[in-house]
Each structure stands twice: as structure tokens, then as C-alpha cells.
């Protein structure tokens, strides 16, 4: 009990002190594991068993509880596979023969569904890989798949390698997710810790660097800034609320951890507990100078209505200490949970704060769902809404739209909408947070706002009115089909007053039209002449943006050409190169070429 109480006190202190003085990495790992090994409540599941085994505590209870859980019947598909895989590897002689036998038997009697997304498959195959490795030379009759250990291993190995190849050449499909970041880090942590094949072990270690680098470059004090392949109704407005924030704290000591810690952070910690190298830690925290970071990702598998299985995603993120602005090109790149653009401003304590601004067309259609899902047309919306409740709501703030086009240059965003008549929800929603310090509608048509130390100017192309949002804030509602917004952010340090900011914005040349398609010509606060018309290539100072040359990663910290299978990480005169062709990491000085 004393130990439990001490842990509780430590946990409270850890949370309270998190932003100012995070404990060292090893201590953060310990806190995460102990939170599960010694849970406050009575609900002790697989996670607690795994955490206790890691701590080599209560092995008799672990055995008993494992048998109880397995006797209840496994459930959860790949979300069952990964915890019991960890238990199998953390056992190390602690479990009773009966418990071990029950665990082995479950992999014969329970067939997990492999699922239908990238994260499902990665969890499924990483777990299957490790269990086939653990129980080699066993016949098909002993596995749910009916395949021998060797067959299971080969299949899992092939898919994992193909996923790494695809990710390092064309990008992730479920990219930059506030929640699902954890389910990509977790299997790589497992393989880095427990794969016996040196190449797989190395591949997974490199992927940990790769995924963590991707996140490090696009976080603001631990918050994963948008756009995202997937987020959810809460996290799209309360940007801190995702598993990624737990990893921001765990990996870098940034921001605030979740309470309780995410299970994904636990299982990451139970396996490799990989501490990012110093260069990634510096990149995660360095917001001294503004920078633009570009990424190319890919769409989820498009089963219908497209000639190519994957389409490109062109992502732009501008970050500075006060805020971040991030966007994709618009369109439906992922079903249901896509988040295409936003401004996220920094706040001292983001918990419960809606520190973001964005606009969306609330799109809902069988076309979208049949593009990405294999279900039939009549029940698919009903099935999706059962777990993604706002999908078919006109009020929603989540999701992409085929009628949205976005162009970003530094901290300027132009979002245009051309919604065909007859579209299910023929309007545009704008999210105006409860946590904006001010919102002023100017006679010029601009709306001025302030969030944290960020000024925001938003110029709707069409009239609008306001609707309240449950949970706080207001929704800009504009029921015009040809629509759009010009949005400019700026740091409060550059404009000491609202009036100064307004004067600067109002002095900028701006031309708007909505027919035949929405179009904008605008000189940004950064002095660039921006031109963008719906479905046309955007131009900066008269030069068309070259999407063909868009890199897999491009910016001051991360660089990789498309199809390269490499990632160059740079910071502070140092360079770390991940080469997936040779499975090597090279570290070298850059003679001042990187910031």
C-alpha cells in the first residue's frame, strides 16, 4: 500500500510538474508502467498483467488473472493480440504452466479479424510475427489461421516489410494521427525489442526513429498539429486530448500526459521503451524560428471510383513558438475522420482548451464510404455512424470533403468550396473556439480573433451567421455553395494591438470572386502574392506550385525525396540519416548547414 500511495503521489507530482520540469525519460517510462502495474481501480486486465510481469510482481496473480480473462473468451481482434503478445514475451518464467498453456491455446481457438485499416494490419502482423517466432515449428492445427508457424511467420514478415517499403517511399496512409500514432509506435517497439532476426530488429528501430521524427517536426509542446489523416470529434477541437500528447510527454517531456496514460504508451514502454536520440528531442522542442515543413503522404486504400489504389497527400505545416498552421490539399483523402486544415495556437495548459481554428464542409456520402470501405451502399452510413456518431451530422466539424480545396503558404490559408447543388449538407462550418480571447466582425468583412499569442484574420467569401456549439464556442454557418475563406495568422509579438493587426490586414490587396468558381488573389502578411482558384493550381508570386516535386519530407529538419527509402534528419550542425535500403543509421556533422 505504501508503494501504491507513493506511486500515486509521484503520478500527481508528475502531472502537475510536467510542462515545467519533466522527469528524465527512464522515470517517465517507470511512471507509465507503474500506473498500470499498480492500478487505482479494480479493473485489472491484460495491461495490468503485462505491467506486473515487467515489474516481476505478483506472478501468481498474473497467472490466475490471465486464465480468467482467457476463459471469458478472447475478444478484440488485433487489440487482443498485442497485449497477449507482450504478456508472452514478458513472462520469462513467471507464469504458471497452466497460464502459459491457456495463452498458447487461445492462439488456436480464437481467430482475430485482421481488420480493414493500416493500423489494424500492423498490429495483427507484428503480433503474429512475434508469436510465430516464439512458437516455431508448430503445425497448422495449432494456429487459428490453420497455417504452420513458418507460414505465419513468412506472411507476417512479408507484410511488415512491404509496409515499411511503402511508408518510406510513398508515405503513411494513416498519417499524423492524434490517436493512432500510438498503434504505429507500439508494434515497432515490439519488433525492435523482441524480433530475433537482426534485420527486422534494425528495420523496426529505424521505423521508430522515422515515426518519431515525423511527429517531432509537427508538434507544438507535445500537441500533434493538424492536418491529420484521422482524429476524432473531441481531439479535433481539444488538440491536446490525443494519445500523441501522451507520447509527447513520454518521448520528449513536452506538454501534459493523458490521465490515465494511454495503453499504447504502456505497451511501447513495456517493449523497447526506445528513447529518441538527442537530435529528435531537439527538433521536437525547437520552435525558436518559424519554419515550413512539407510532407507527402498517401490516401487510404481507395477500393472504388479511382484508377489508383493510393492518391498523394500534399501536406504543409508552418510552425513557430506561438502557433502552427497546417493543411492538406483538400478532398477526401481518408474516410470519416480526416482533418484537413487548422491553426493551433500554443497555450500554457492545453487540457480542456479548444486552441484551434478551422473550417469544413460537413460532407457525408455513400460515395465516400464506398470509396474506402467494402460494405454495401444501403447500410454503410448506418454502420459507420454507430461508432463515428457525427459522420452524418450537418453540424460536424470533422472530415474531408470532395468539394474543398486548400492552399497554404506559410501562415496563410485559402480554403475554397464549390458544393454542387443537391449535396447532402449544402453549407460550410467554421469553428470559433470558446477559448478565443476575442472575436470581432469588422465592417470590411474580415473577422479578427486572438487565440493565445496568435492573431487570426478570417475573410469569408460569403455571408454567414452564427450557431452555438454544444460544449462552448460558436459555429460560423454559411449556406452558400460557392464559398471560401482567406485566413491569415500572425504572432502577437509582431502586432502589439488588435488595431495594429487590423491595419496590417486591411492594407493587404485582396480580390475575391465566387463565380464561376471561388477564387482569391491576396498579398499575405509575409509579402507573397497568392492566387488560388477552385480546382486550379495555386501560384505564389506568379509561380505555380510544383506538386510533382513535393518531397516525402522537406524542411529544415527532415528531408527525403519520394521513393528514396531514406530520411535525413538535421539539426544544430548534426545529421542523422536513416537508410532503409541498407538498414543503417549514419550520424555526421553538417558543418553548419542545418539550423
Amino acid at each position: 500500500m505504501k508503494r501504491l500511495a507513493a506511486c500515486g503521489v509521484l503520478a500527481i507530482l508528475g502531472v502537475a510538474l510536467a510542462p515545467a520540469s519533466p522527469p528524465p525519460f527512464a522515470e517517465r517510462v517507470r511512471q507509465v508502467i507503474d500506473a498500470y502495474a499498480y492500478p487505482k481501480g479494480a479493473d485489472a486486465g491484460y495491461a495490468t498483467i503485462a505491467a506486473k510481469l515487467k515489474r516481476r510482481a505478483d506472478p501468481a496473480w498474473c497467472s490466475r488473472r490471465l486464465i480468467e480473462l482467457l476463459d471469458q473468451g478472447p475478444t478484440g481482434d488485433m487489440f487482443w493480440m498485442f497485449p497477449v503478445t507482450a504478456i508472452a514475451y514478458l513472462d520469462q518464467g513467471q507464469l504458471s504452466p497452466e497460464a502459459r498453456h491457456a495463452l498458447r491455446r487461445a492462439w488456436r481457438t480464437y481467430m482475430p479479424f485482421r481488420g480493414d485499416t493500416e493500423n489494424h494490419w500492423l498490429l495483427y502482423y507484428a503480433s503474429l510475427y512475434l508469436m510465430a517466432q516464439k512458437w516455431p515449428n508448430e503445425p497448422g492445427e495449432t494456429w487459428f489461421s490453420g497455417k504452420s508457424s513458418a507460414e505465419n511467420f513468412r506472411e507476417a514478415d512479408a507484410w511488415i516489410r512491404s509496409w515499411v517499403d511503402l511508408t518510406t517511399t510513398r508515405g503513411q496512409g494513416e498519417y499524423d494521427c492524434t490517436h493512432y500514432l500510438g498503434v504505429f509506435l507500439l508494434p515497432m517497439s515490439y519488433l525492435a525489442a523482441w524480433a530475433e532476426d537482426p534485420q527486422m530488429k534494425k528495420r523496426a528501430s529505424l521505423m521508430l526513429d522515422y515515426l518519431i521524427a515525423d511527429y517531432a517536426a509537427e508538434n507544438l509542446e507535445g500537441i500533434y498539429v493538424g492536418s491529420h489523416a484521422r482524429t476524432d470529434d473531441r481531439q479535433v477541437v481539444e488538440k491536446w486530448g490525443g494519445v500523441s500528447s501522451d507520447f509527447g510527454w513520454l518521448l520528449f517531456g513536452l506538454g501534459y500526459p493523458l490521465e490515465p496514460h494511454a495503453g499504447y504508451a504502456l505497451f511501447y514502454s513495456l517493449a523497447s521503451a526506445y528513447e529518441p536520440p538527442p537530435i529528435l528531442q531537439r527538433i521536437a522542442a525547437d520552435r525558436d524560428r518559424p519554419f515550413t515543413h512539407r510532407e507527402r503522404k498517401r490516401t487510404r486504400n481507395r477500393w472504388r471510383y479511382h484508377d489508383e489504389l493510393h492518391g498523394p497527400v500534399y501536406k504543409t505545416t508552418y510552425l513557430r513558438r506561438e502557433y502552427a498552421v497546417s493543411s492538406d490539399q483538400g478532398g477526401v483523402l481518408q474516410p470519416v475522420q480526416q482533418h484537413s486544415w487548422d491553426i493551433t495556437w500554443s497555450v500554457p495548459d492545453p487540457r480542456g482548451v479548444h486552441n484551434t481554428f478551422f473550417t469544413v464542409h460537413p460532407y457525408s456520402s455513400v460515395f465516400e464510404l464506398q470509396t474506402y470501405f467494402t460494405m454495401g451502399p444501403d447500410s454503410v452510413t448506418e454502420e459507420v455512424v454507430r461508432s463515428k456518431r457525427t459522420y452524418d451530422s450537418p453540424d460536424k466539424l470533422l472530415g474531408g470533403s470532395p468539394h474543398e480545396r486548400i492552399f497554404q503558404d506559410e501562415d496563410t490559408v485559402i480554403a475554397l468550396y464549390d458544393i454542387p447543388p443537391g449535396t447532402r449538407f449544402p453549407h460550410v462550418n467554421g469553428f470559433f473556439s470558446k477559448d478565443l480571447a476575442l472575436v470581432e466582425e469588422h465592417p470590411s468583412g474580415w473577422i479578427f480573433a486572438r487565440g493565445g499569442d496568435a492573431w487570426i484574420a478570417c475573410r469569408p467569401l460569403q455571408p454567414y451567421f452564427w450557431k452555438p456549439i454544444e460544449g462552448g464556442g460558436r459555429r460560423l454557418f454559411s449556406p452558400y455553395l460557392k464559398n471560401g475563406f482567406v485566413v491569415q495568422a500572425a504572432p502577437a509579438s509582431e502586432y502589439p494591438s488588435l488595431r495594429a493587426f487590423q491595419q496590417a490586414i486591411l492594407a493587404l490587396p485582396l480580390r475575391l470572386r465566387t463565380d464561376p468558381v471561388p477564387a482569391v488573389a491576396f498579398r499575405s502578411l509575409r509579402g507573397r502574392h497568392l492566387e488560388f482558384a477552385y480546382d486550379a493550381e495555386p501560384a505564389v508570386d506568379g509561380r505555380r506550385r510544383d506538386f510533382a516535386a513535393w518531397p516525402l519530407f522537406g524542411g529544415p529538419f527532415l528531408n527525403a525525396p519520394v521513393d528514396s527509402r531514406m530520411l535525413k534528419i538535421s539539426h544544430g550542425g548534426e545529421e542523422r540519416v536513416l537508410d532503409f535500403r541498407t538498414l543503417t543509421v549514419t550520424e555526421r556533422p553538417t558543418q553548419g548547414r542545418s539550423r
Partner: protein, 332 residues
């Protein structure tokens, strides 16, 4: 090779019903509370035993969309499933996944009656064929522009002849899937293809929004029947093995419609069904006029008068993707 099923059906139609010769199987899911990762009520394959009791068979699985079998070994079923093509031996009890990481979320499976060891699967990225009983697979969708495939059907009288239903219509192959020609229903997602048990030249295809299509030349060309289902989604079509002119279609907001004149005219047969949303249909080959319908998340319903009246027949709360009669005797 003899036309095994046709001979059997003709014999059945001419003689007293022999219900024990067939078992009804259902590819089904208890979908109401399920998303990936959640607890799954009994789902996958259910077989109705000789006593009329439904028994969930094999593993619990949320996506078994179709099954087929080789008449030479009817004890072994082949399932189109979320995890791949599954060989379910021992009448569905012992499963082995035959495919690997190259396919997912299968929509259909067809066993070649004329070429032992050959089976085809329809999946979201095309068609694959195995010529060694599922030990190895090759892509068989070269030349098809958009790959999403919901249905595959083999001609039981002509080796290597098959029709697939894709996102953009029907495609016909006379060389075992090595090459394809567009055959009809252009622009429509095809949901289900069936060959008549009475006339091997006669085929029907149900589509999303396009209605019902018919081929009278063994699947090489198709025409729209026009009279049923246009603007709606038809999920299944069934020939009555005991009545050459009787056909049924099932669909969303269509329910069950039955034609007694080979598709010239149709009559809605929904009196007694709780909702007009039907996924699957099957005529009982051993009981003339008996028709089964899987109604969306309600139950399986059965009619003994070709749809004039219905009663519940189990599998409450399920979506039934496919109803298939399999020989009861088996090979054991």
C-alpha cells in the same frame, strides 16, 4: 463431366422432396454492436442441421460474405472472408486460411466444377485464381480497368468460362481469367451473378442502381431486364431449381420480388416481412415453392408459397450475406 447439380435438381423436381439431401448455410454477421476490436456475437458461418436447428460453425468471424464447394468433396466449404479465402473442412468446422497478406475482405468465391483444384475469389482489388486447391494464387484481373469485384460465377458446362461483376459492370472470360471482355451493365456495380440451373446459357446479374441484367449466351453479353430494381440496389438474385420460370430478386427498398415468367413481370412479395431490405435469397432445391430471405438485421424468413406469406426462421438480428444449400451427405 456430367452436370451434377442440374441432374440432381431435375431428378428432385421430378420426384418426391428429399429434404435431408441438403443443408442450408448462411454467411452472416451479428453486426449491430460490432466494430473492429469489439466483442462479436456469433457470426461467420451458420449451418442448419437436419433437425432444423441453426448451429454456428467454425470460428467467429465478422465478415464471411459467400461460400462455395466442390461437389466431389461437398464436406469442404470455401469461404470468402475478411481474413481471406478460408477452406472450412469437416462441413465448416476446421478452418485454414488459404490466402496471405495479398488480399483482404473477400466478396465472393467460386469453385470450378469442371477443373479440379481450381477456385476463384473476388476481392476489393480484383480477382485471383488458384489452380492447386488454394496452395498458390495468381491475379486474374488483368485488363479489367477498375478492380473492385463483388461477384464471380463460373459456367458449370464450359471449362474456363466465367463472369465477374465489378465496380464498372460485367466482364466475361473464356480462358479462365487470362483475358476479359466487357459484357454489359456498364457503369453499374454488380452485386451478384447467377447461372440458371435449368438452362446453362441463361444468367442473371443483380446490380447497384442498374436493376437486373440477363444473358442468354452463357455470359458473353447482357441486356437490362428493365422491369425490376432500377434506381435501387439489388443484392441477390435466385433461380428456383424446381420451377424453370420462377426467379426472385432481393434488395434494399425492394424486399423480395418474384417473377413467374422468367423475368417478364414481377410481383413484390413483402407481406409478412418486417422491412423491405433483403440481402440474400435462396430457393430450396428440395421443396418446390420454398423461398428463404435474409432481412437486414431482423432474421432469416421463409416462405412456403414463393413469397406470398413469410415466417421467421431463426438467425435473429443478423445480416445474412449469402444463403447456400449444400449437399447433406458429404464425403465422410
Amino acid at each position: 463431366m456430367a452436370d451434377w447439380i442440374r441432374v440432381l435438381w431435375v431428378a428432385l423436381a421430378a420426384s418426391a422432396p428429399l429434404p435431408a439431401q441438403f443443408l442450408l448455410t448462411a454467411c452472416m454477421v451479428n453486426s449491430r454492436a460490432y466494430v473492429v476490436g469489439a466483442r462479436l456475437p456469433a457470426s461467420g458461418l451458420s449451418v442448419r442441421d437436419a433437425a432444423g436447428i441453426w448451429r454456428h460453425t467454425g470460428f467467429n468471424h465478422p465478415l464471411v460474405t459467400a461460400l462455395d464447394y466442390d461437389p466431389r468433396q461437398p464436406d469442404t466449404l470455401y469461404l470468402a472472408a475478411g481474413n481471406g479465402c478460408i477452406r472450412a473442412a469437416n462441413r465448416g468446422r476446421d478452418w485454414r486460411i488459404l490466402t496471405g497478406e495479398e488480399v483482404t475482405e473477400l466478396r465472393d468465391v467460386a469453385v470450378d466444377r469442371l477443373t479440379p483444384g481450381t477456385l476463384y475469389i473476388a476481392h476489393p482489388a480484383g480477382i485471383r485464381v488458384s489452380r492447386d486447391g488454394g496452395a498458390s494464387w495468381q491475379d486474374a484481373s488483368r485488363g479489367i480497368p477498375r478492380k473492385f469485384t463483388m461477384s464471380v460465377a463460373l459456367d458449370r458446362t464450359r471449362a474456363g468460362h466465367l463472369v465477374v461483376g465489378t465496380e464498372t459492370g460485367l466482364f466475361f472470360s473464356a480462358d479462365g481469367g487470362a483475358s476479359w471482355t466487357p459484357a454489359g451493365a456498364a457503369g453499374f456495380q454488380v452485386m451478384r451473378i447467377q447461372q440458371s440451373p435449368h438452362d446453362p446459357k441463361l444468367w442473371l446479374a443483380a446490380t447497384q442502381l442498374g436493376g437486373l441484367f440477363r444473358s442468354t449466351d452463357g455470359g458473353a453479353s447482357w441486356e437490362n431486364l428493365g422491369a425490376i430494381g432500377a434506381g435501387r440496389n439489388l443484392y441477390d438474385v435466385a433461380f428456383d431449381p424446381t420451377a424453370p420460370e420462377r426467379i426472385a430478386v432481393g434488395g434494399w427498398s425492394v424486399g423480395v420480388a418474384v417473377s413467374a415468367d422468367g423475368g417478364k413481370t414481377w410481383t413484390a412479395r413483402n407481406a409478412g416481412l418486417p422491412r423491405p431490405d433483403v440481402w440474400s435469397l435462396a430457393f430450396d432445391p428440395a421443396r418446390p415453392g420454398r423461398l428463404y430471405a435474409g432481412v437486414h438485421e431482423e432474421a432469416l424468413f421463409v416462405s412456403d408459397d414463393a413469397g406470398l406469406s413469410w415466417r421467421k426462421e431463426g438467425l435473429e438480428g443478423t445480416v445474412i450475406y449469402r444463403l447456400t444449400f449444400i449437399p447433406a451427405g458429404g464425403g465422410r
